[in-house]
């Protein structure tokens, strides 16, 4: 184990002091910092404008939008008892022309006309000032929700029992209750934005790690073959120990990079939370279980792809050739991204379940499904076990190939030769 530790330390130190690693590691925090700073500046500027506008509005005693209405309905007036609505004040206007004049004078923000046949047809006319509208159109807010509340309140509020008037405005909030086979019921927690964000970021990080961390293993192996350092090292350390040392050292460097990126993103979200009103769900720390699942996927995913990359490095003879062949390993990792429309629309369908258990597609599929809460605990554990077993098998394969072809220069073995080497050990 001493040799593994020494190789691990060397590989880690060498990797984390490379300029390319430092630049790449710093890139995400720098981008996050720039984005947060830019957003903060934008928010502060717009807030100042909003405050100035608010101050101006306060002076004119018109904080809430003033929505004019003309009640031309037959019979007694239907509207007028409930003019104050959440977020708006309805102002009666005597007739359409007066309303238009008030609208043009900006004394009101919108004008609604209830025609005489309203009770029969339900038709309400919104009068707008003709305008070219610019890029974003002439409409402004639709006020449809506010209008609905105004109409319902005035038509029925006095007829419903006390305590139910609010239901006229918001008739219901739908929640789902799930019943288990044993008859026990539990209310669904609903969509957890924070959890979704956590697994989304973890999945993106895993994709990056496929590119970078496991790529480090490939590059380190092929470079040592190209530089002819390999044989010198092998007189001091067994091939398995050398490979494991690289595996651990470069994996640690990759994890450190991921931690820096995730930390930067997390810090960015927290800072944003201080600047603007970020939904509290997003600021919730992920649970221990979620962290454990993500760590399992990440570690097994890294182990799988790094092992496959090491196998590619073992049987290739130059960095160029290795990078070409490594596409065979990397491309399948992106299949879940290409099929994301299926995963999102049918997260518990056959395609999603199959991709969850194919080793090279499992990590990214798992993160997507976990983000939308479409994987149960049993399926998650089973998928992790399959992925872990696959990663172990890939590492075993890489070691066999590495032992067989570690000093091979100039000629790539055929598939038949590789199969023979793996079988014979």
């Amino acid at each position: 184990m001493g040799s593994v530790r020494i190789v691990t330390r060397h590989e880690f130190r060498t990797a984390v002091t490379r300029p390319s690693y430092l630049i790449l590691t710093a890139a995400v925090p720098v981008l996050v910092a720039l984005a947060v700073a830019g957003f903060a500046i934008f928010t502060l500027v717009t807030r100042e404008d909003a405050e100035a506008e608010t101050a101006s509005s306060t002076e004119s005693s018109a904080q809430a939008p003033r929505l004019g209405y003309v009640d031309l309905t037959d019979g007694p007036a239907l509207f007028g008892a409930h003019q104050d609505q959440p977020g708006a004040v309805f102002v009666p206007v005597s007739d359409r022309d007066a309303g238009v004049a008030a609208l043009m004078d900006e004394q009101i923000d919108a004008l609604f006309v209830f025609p005489p046949d309203y009770a029969k047809t339900g038709r309400v006319v919104r009068v707008r000032i003709a305008d070219d509208g610019g890029v974003f159109g002439p409409d402004g807010p639709s006020y449809s929700g506010t209008l609905r509340g105004f109409v319902l309140s005035n038509l029925f509020a006095d007829d419903v029992p006390a305590g139910l008037a609010e239901r006229l405005r918001i008739p219901y909030t739908l929640v789902t209750e799930e019943v288990r086979p044993d008859g026990a019921a539990e209310e669904s927690a609903g969509f957890d934005i924070g959890r979704a964000a956590f697994f989304a970021v973890a999945g993106i990080s895993l994709l990056f790690s496929v590119f970078f961390s496991s790529g480090y293993v490939l590059n380190a192996l092929v470079e040592e073959k190209e530089n002819r350092v390999m044989e010198v090292l092998l007189s001091s350390v067994k091939p398995d120990a050398l490979l494991l040392g690289k595996f651990f050292g470069l994996g640690a460097a990759g994890l450190l990079q991921m931690a820096a990126w995730l930390g930067a993103v997390g810090a960015g979200v927290l800072v944003l939370g201080l600047i603007v009103d970020v939904p509290t769900d997003l600021l919730t720390m992920p649970g221990v279980g979620d962290i454990a699942i993500a760590a399992g996927y990440f570690l097994f995913g890294y182990a799988l792809f790094a092992s496959l990359m090491a196998a590619v490095g073992a049987v290739t003879t130059s960095l160029r050739e290795a990078n070409q062949i490594s596409a065979i390993v990397i491309v399948p990792a992106f299949i879940p991204v290409w099929l994301n429309f299926i995963l999102f629309t049918e997260p518990e369908g056959k395609v999603a379940r199959v991709l969850t258990f194919i080793p090279v597609t499992a990590p990214v599929t798992g993160f997507i499904r976990l983000a939308i809460d479409a994987m149960g605990p049993l399926e998650t554990v089973a998928a992790l076990l399959v992925l872990g077993a696959s990663a172990s098998g890939a590492l075993w394969l890489a070691m066999r190939l590495f032992r067989a072809y570690l000093l091979m220069y100039g000629k790539r073995p055929t598939l038949k030769e590789m199969a023979r080497s793996v079988v014979s050990g």
Partner: protein, 328 residues
């Protein structure tokens, strides 16, 4: 088996390979090779390209597992402890071009069991010994090819190995650095280090080695002391230098031919002739001899003779499978 002396260094035969056999595909690259190297002995390991030298070396260092045979280093099969007492400079060699010298030497030393605290001192000593101190702060990629080779040699010996394997160590070096390296190898031998020295340069073997092992087509065809082998392959010709002419030597019994050779004469003996008889006859005739010796072939001549008699080609005899490897 190697015994440990009071100074902590091994005595006896620290390296013993017995009946090594290695097959790549359908080809037996090494066949029944046995080899011993004693403490303080430099053994020249020679043979044409593709003869199986590098494969044998790799089996002796446990880089390749032999199909048959055993290797004992310091009295036991190679383990991590034994590996730390070995220094190996392979023919296909290199270092990390993007790294500076100190971390590379430290890494190599630590892999040989040297402590983190001790490594810098040993590295500095090795660099100083090979005249590389002024280059200490450089990256490997900034060094010339010769300096890189010296640096690699420094990495090989810095941990004071008891068994040193050098595969074509002088290729690409200028004469000054070749001399420096030879002197260092001689010093190490005097310190009791067992050295296996693989090369194509027979003059280097004659100069440095106590014993020579020749391998051809995967088999050992010659194994013995350098002087002993030259004596065994000595010809039936005598080299004589004297003040007077020697044509009359033809009339001496046992002499088949006399010819001019350099500043003297070359006398070829017939089947009945002997050097003793010719020497006695010349002295009896009152010839004032300045030089009288049996003409011995150089190791290179012996090497070429053996390779050619085996139907090989001394300048290239690679095997198909070894073409994908770096075997010499």
């Amino acid at each position: 088996m190697a015994a440990i002396a009071s100074d902590g260094r091994p005595h006896g035969v620290p390296v013993r390979a017995t009946g090594l056999w290695k097959r790549f595909g359908a080809l037996d690259v090494v066949r029944d090779v046995s080899l011993e190297i004693a403490q303080g002995e430099v053994v020249g390991f020679v043979g044409p390209n593709g003869a199986g030298k590098s494969t044998t070396i790799r089996m002796m260092l446990d880089i390749f597992a032999p199909d048959q045979g055993t290797v004992e280093v310091f009295g036991a099969p190679i383990d991590d402890a034994a590996r730390r007492r070995i220094g190996y400079l392979p023919e296909e060699r290199g270092l990390y071009p993007g790294l500076r010298i100190p971390p590379i030497l430290k890494y190599m030393a630590e892999l040989k069991g040297v402590s983190t605290q001790e490594a810098p001192g040993l590295a500095d000593a090795a660099l100083e010994r090979l005249g590389l101190t002024e280059h200490r702060a450089k990256k490997v990629g900034e060094l010339s090819r010769g300096l890189r080779q010296l640096l690699q040699f420094a990495a090989t010996i810095q941990h004071k190995p008891d068994f040193l394997v050098l595969d074509e160590p002088f290729s690409g070096l200028d004469p000054v650095n070749v001399r420096l390296m030879k002197n260092t190898v001689a010093d190490l031998r005097n310190d009791g280090v067992a050295v296996l020295f693989s090369t194509h340069q027979m003059t280097d073997v004659e100069e440095l080695c106590d014993r020579v092992v020749m391998i051809n087509h995967g088999e050992i065809v010659l194994n013995g002391g350098v002087r002993e082998i030259r004596r065994q392959h000595a010809s039936d010709r005598l080299l004589v230098e004297c003040a007077s002419d020697l044509p009359y030597a033809l009339s001496l019994p046992g002499v088949a031919k006399v010819e001019s050779h350099g500043d003297g004469w070359r006398i070829s003996l017939d089947d009945d002739g002997s050097a003793d008889g010719v020497l006695r006859a010349l002295l009896d005739a009152g010839v004032e001899l300045e030089r009288f010796e049996r003409e011995a072939p150089t190791l290179e001549e012996i090497f070429l003779r053996i390779v050619r008699s085996a139907g090989g080609n001394a300048s290239g005899n690679g095997t198909p499978d070894e073409g994908t490897r770096t075997d010499g």
